[in-house]
């Protein structure tokens, strides 16, 4: 009997030798990914109409936005026969020509009330309701068993969840404390689960970001964060998902100058991300969206007020790219939403779902968990 058992053992170990992954590693390995996702939220309702400019409707633009349009007519960067890109987005335009950028027109999240705060909460929660306790990216990260980082001081709604712990990182000028204090604090927080969790996350991120180099990124904090984001995502120990935010898009006045500047910042962030990711750019998708767009007509202070549909961007080395996606609804008065805004023809969440499906390999059940109220699109986004 002993000999027979011994031979059986030998046989099975030989088998195991040839299929190591099945024998030794568990389910997690199958989900461990080198496919990265960066979610950038633009807070303040970015004007889509002057980001992806509908060239074919120039006469309507001149009619609705006499003072805003004149500044853009000649210098916009052409995408195709129908659309051009705002002149500030030079780097994004280059990426478009290389097939690494997909601009999407007339996108709406489904939220129609035009309040920034509710709109942003709706966009971040992704469940068809306005909540502050859980976000779509947290659910996606949980399914994917991925690690997530918010380049922020506290956890934004997109990454909030009871189950998932997203770390946060933010540059600070303060000197850091020594290990004796951290040890004592671990003791102190024994009975406080939230503070204890934050402390361990903080220490982990601190470790990881020892080598983060913020030089030559520029003065604006968003640029530093973009550069740090790229560095913290690269390599084996890098995070799988990250979230950034850029504010200042609420151009109720002086839109020409303000939007131009903001788009320059966005453009530079994209550049810092691509350059920072290096080889990882090939397997990264960056999704950029805003809570809603702005009125088609300009207002009395050379700006625009809150609207509905806006522009969305997908960027990445592995994208199909080079094509303007979405469906243009038109700017005739009958084609506008509530007679004042651009009509949304596709849904922000559906595009995000498509990214999760094609880039992170989510199946229908998994997509339903993340976005219970919509379906993904069949457009081929990722190669």
């Amino acid at each position: 009997m002993k000999r027979r058992q011994f031979i059986k053992l030998l046989g099975s170990s030989l088998l195991a030798y040839h299929c190591p992954s099945r024998a030794f590693l568990g389910n997690k390995a199958e989900n461990k990914t080198d496919k990265k996702l960066i979610w950038i939220i633009l807070r303040g309702a970015k004007d889509g109409l002057h980001t992806i400019i509908p060239r074919q409707e120039q006469h309507r633009l001149n009619q609705y936005r006499p003072r805003l349009s004149s500044a853009l007519r000649s210098t916009a960067l052409p995408l195709n026969a129908a659309f051009s890109l705002h002149p500030s987005l030079k780097y994004a335009h280059q990426l478009y020509q290389q097939g690494e950028c997909s601009p999407i027109v007339a996108v709406g999240s489904g939220y129609e009330q035009r309040s920034h705060f509710d709109g942003q909460d709706f966009l971040e929660s992704g469940s068809g309701r306005i909540t502050q306790t859980e976000g779509w990216l947290a659910r996606a990260v949980d399914i994917k068993q991925a690690s997530a980082l918010a380049l922020n001081r506290s956890t934004p709604i997109s990454l909030r969840s009871d189950k998932v712990t997203a770390s946060t990182w933010y540059p600070a000028d303060q000197q850091s404390a020594d290990s004796k204090l951290f040890d004592a604090l671990s003791d102190l927080y024994e009975k406080s689960p939230i503070l204890s969790k934050r402390l361990s996350e903080g220490l982990a991120v601190s470790q990881m970001s020892q080598g983060v180099d913020l030089s030559k990124s520029g003065k604006a904090t968003e640029l530093k964060l973009a550069k740090a984001c790229a560095q913290l995502l690269t390599g084996d120990k890098g995070y799988d998902a990250a979230m950034l935010e850029i504010s200042g898009w609420d151009t109720h006045n002086d839109q020409v100058k303000r939007l131009s500047y903001r788009l320059k910042v966005l453009d530079k962030c994209i550049r810092l991300i691509k350059e920072g990711l290096k080889d990882d750019w090939q397997n990264t998708v960056v999704a950029i969206a805003t809570e809603f767009g702005r009125t088609v007509k300009e207002n009395g202070t050379k700006g625009t007020d809150h609207g509905n549909a806006s522009a969305m961007f997908l960027l990445g080395g592995g994208l199909k790219g080079g094509e303007v996606l979405g469906q243009w609804p038109g700017l005739e008065p009958s084609q506008l939403f509530e007679n004042r805004d651009l009509l949304p023809t596709t849904n922000t969440f559906s595009w995000l779902a498509s990214v999760l499906e094609q880039h992170w390999g989510f199946n229908e059940t998994q997509l339903n968990t993340v976005f219970p109220h919509i379906k993904s699109y069949s457009d081929k986004l990722v190669l």
Binding site: Q132, T168, Q174, D178, L181, L185, L188, H252, T301
Partner: protein, 531 residues
């Protein structure tokens, strides 16, 4: 019974009865009186040995009464002690939760009657420092632009830089004074209330002009109206140049007004929208897009004197009647057919007294002072007071303070960065903090005054402030401040918590030998991070 025995018995009885009398234990007092009577009158009977039985009975009675007395008085003492403890807990919460953090000896002052102590603090705040007023800032800005015009290109850049630096210095100076007053105040509830309304009417400074002007909103429009009617505060804020500039109403003119036709200007709905969404009714307050336009029309022409013209010696609010949208407006189903300035005034007054405004603001107040999800019953009684007193903020605060629902022990509020450093300074008995410990920290923590980035102001719930990066920042600040100071840890604990610090924290601190580490632990303890 010999006389010495009797004497000692009577002494004991005397003592017991006097304590009984003081503690209102009348039944024991009566029995001991009877016992004393028995002893004095009947002692003669007890002298004969055959009345040994009497002695025993007497002795037995006495011991019974002493036992009963001890038990009852202990119970009363514990109850008294219990109410002493309860008052102590309340005093601690009064200072830490409602105030800005207990300063040395503050708990002692509060403990006699914590609720009353708080109520007596509610007063308007006056600023009598040398900081420029809104009108001064506007005039100075007008001068700056006028002078700039006469310079050549190179000088112009220098001059602009100088103006910007000056504005930054003024703002920094303002911060220091402001935080020092908070740290040293004996009526810190007031300052907390000022902070609350300043955040409610949040304005974010972007340009050098704003750096001078925006802090004035708090000083001039909010602080003088802290304990008055909300409608007065709303009116002051909506007529203050800071708010008019920030939300673009200064250049908003009715589409059919004379100014619009003449100068190709028009309506900007930003301020009207935020008044409805943030300042009064709240996002679910039941208004529509049409109401927003109606209000925007109602306050069109609410503007600022032109500071760039030579006559710019007059500054501040100016109602440009030629920019006001003519005709009546319908807001929330009511028609406003007043002319001129009055139309907007009536609209705002009605908004301020609206039931949904009361609900919105009372919820925010209850959320700020008590817990992230405040008790609906508490909000209800506050709303009742609001509606009864037509929005008297002091009355609403008194209702909140007097209700036991505001003093819940669980679900405590997580301190914001500002609350953290101010309460730290107060507990440690400091008179001030170095500039970099305030301004640099608040910048890094994302809680600088007037930098919220949106008119909704800074968030007021734990998940707005609680994050790993945020915690690491506080640890770093704590580490720096512990290095600077020599703190007596027992005194610090006593200042902020009296004897209510949790046993686990006490034990963890006591275990350390390094004094500076003890201070850091106290500042970062869960007890201190929540209020």
């Amino acid at each position: 019974m010999d006389s010495s025995f009797r004497l000692s018995l009577l002494t004991i009885i005397d003592y017991v009865s006097s304590r009984a009398y003081l503690l209102n234990l009348s039944f024991i007092f009566n029995y001991t009186k009877q016992l004393a009577f028995e002893i004095t009158i009947l002692h003669r009977l007890l002298e004969k040995p055959r009345h040994f039985a009497y002695k025993i009975t007497l002795f037995y009675k006495l011991s019974c009464y002493i036992v009963i007395y001890t038990l009852v008085s202990n119970a009363l003492y514990v109850d008294e002690l219990g109410s002493i403890m309860q008052n102590m807990n309340m005093a601690v919460d009064a200072c830490n939760r409602f105030g800005l953090g207990a300063a040395p000896h503050e708990i002692n002052v509060a403990k006699a009657n914590p609720k009353q102590w708080l109520i007596e603090q509610l007063n308007n705040i006056s600023f009598s420092d040398e900081l420029p007023s809104a009108n001064d800032s506007l005039i100075a800005n007008g001068q700056f632009h006028k002078n700039k015009k006469s310079l050549n290109a190179f000088r112009r850049e220098q001059f602009s830089k100088q103006y910007k630096q000056q504005s930054q210095t003024t703002l920094a100076h303002f911060y220091q004074i402001y935080f020092e007053r908070q740290i040293n105040s004996e009526a810190s509830l007031n300052w907390r209330l000022l902070d609350f309304f300043s955040n409610h009417f949040s304005v974010t400074a972007r340009y050098p002009m704003h750096l001078n002007l925006f802090p004035c909103l708090e000083r001039e429009a909010i602080a003088p109206n802290l304990t008055g009617r909300f409608s007065d505060m709303l009116m002051s804020v909506c007529q203050h140049p800071a708010m008019l500039m920030y939300l673009n109403n200064a250049n908003s003119f009715g589409n059919r007004s004379l100014l619009a036709k003449k100068n190709n200007k028009g309506l900007n709905e930003n301020l009207a929208r935020e008044i409805l969404e943030l300042h009064t009714l709240g996002v679910k307050g039941g208004y529509t897009q049409t109401d927003i336009i109606a209000l925007a029309n109602g306050i069109s022409g609410w503007s600022i004197h032109n500071r760039f013209k030579a006559k710019g010696k007059i500054a501040g609010f100016q109602f440009k009647h030629r920019g006001h949208e003519p005709n009546s407006q319908v807001l929330l189903g009511k028609t406003y057919s007043q002319k001129g300035l009055d139309q907007g005034i009536r609209m705002l007054t009605d908004l301020a007294n609206h039931k949904n405004t009361a609900k919105h603001i009372c919820l925010k107040l209850a959320r700020h002072f008590t817990q992230d999800q405040p008790s609906p019953s508490l909000v209800k009684i506050m709303v009742q007071t609001w509606l009864q007193t037509k929005g008297n903020l002091k009355a609403v605060m008194v209702t909140m303070i007097n209700s036991s629902l505001a003093w819940q022990q669980s679900n405590r509020k997580y301190k914001t960065p500002r609350e953290f450093i101010v309460s730290s300074a107060r507990m440690l008995g400091l008179k001030t903090l170095p500039k970099n410990m305030i301004q640099t920290f608040l910048n890094d923590a994302g809680h600088s005054p007037h930098k919220a980035g949106s008119p909704a102001g800074y968030g007021d719930m734990q998940n707005n402030w609680d994050g790993s990066a945020a915690l690491m920042l506080r640890i770093s600040w704590t580490n720096n401040i512990s290095k600077l100071l020599d703190i007596n840890i027992e005194q610090a604990i006593n200042n902020a918590f009296a004897n209510t610090l949790s046993p686990h924290t006490m034990a963890t601190i006591a275990r350390q030998s390094d004094e500076r580490l003890k201070t850091s632990l106290l500042l970062m303890s869960p007890d201190f991070q929540y209020r």
